[in-house]
Point group: C2
Chain length 140, copies 2
């Protein structure tokens, strides 16, 4: 099991404050015999319009240990693998990357190139504030 | 400038043996003010049918420091960023990931999930043998 991201608790609390029920942490999905991924958080929210509510799989990206560009490349690849993994399991979950608000403002919004990549690969983002433990923005 | 990959020399020699001229190493491409990437190798080969020959940008992925799945996610994101970077610069280069033959056989061919990802995102691969310093296979 991978080491918990330093922002794991922040994102968990932020989702709970926003009305989400945390269903799983470090969710193990086997893709093939000998090939698996772990998704940080899985959560569900009941919404009147939808019988089963909405379910999300959330991978937390801290963007602290490498350059932002290197972190972005890894996050992009991970997102695309996770989207496919969830789809192949026929699971009705939407995959999100959770990123700190300072990285969103100072990197994701800052560079045209990154904005275009986010559009092109339809990256879904949960932007959170690590200190207040609140969700600042959803990019759906 | 990033540290040279341990297989840098192997891939360089393998390309040269295959008739490629190495044009640049650690090729710096600025994407936005303050945002750049480095591509390990750029090479060119003159082919009768094409006036300017064929030009390739090669990023070497060793798959040694992390799990293969983590390395794959990073390589996928990097490939997609580099493809877009080259396209945005209006450069007529084809981006390849160079990977060792044991990783190709034991991971890329081994798992259906990975084969499907390679197809879906049209990953172009140069499979090389680190010891003999020869190219084993091109996936175009």
């Amino acid at each position: 099991m991978p080491a918990k991201d330093i922002f794991h608790e922040s994102v968990k609390v932020a989702l709970q404050k926003d009305g989400w029920i945390i269903l799983r942490e470090d969710w193990y999905i086997e893709l093939d015999a000998g090939l698996a991924i772990y998704i940080d958080l899985a959560a569900q929210k009941f919404i009147e319009a939808e019988k089963d509510g909405k379910r999300i799989a959330v991978e937390i990206k801290s963007f602290i240990s490498q350059s932002n560009m290197t972190s972005f490349q890894k996050a992009l690849g991970q997102f695309l693998v996770y989207v496919k993994a969830v789809k192949k399991q026929l699971l009705d979950w939407t995959v999100y990357l959770a990123i700190p608000v300072d990285i969103y403002n100072g990197f994701f919004l800052e560079f045209n190139f990154i904005r275009e990549m986010v559009e092109e690969y339809d990256l879904k983002l949960i932007v959170f504030h690590p200190d207040t433990k609140e969700i600042v923005l959803w990019r759906n």
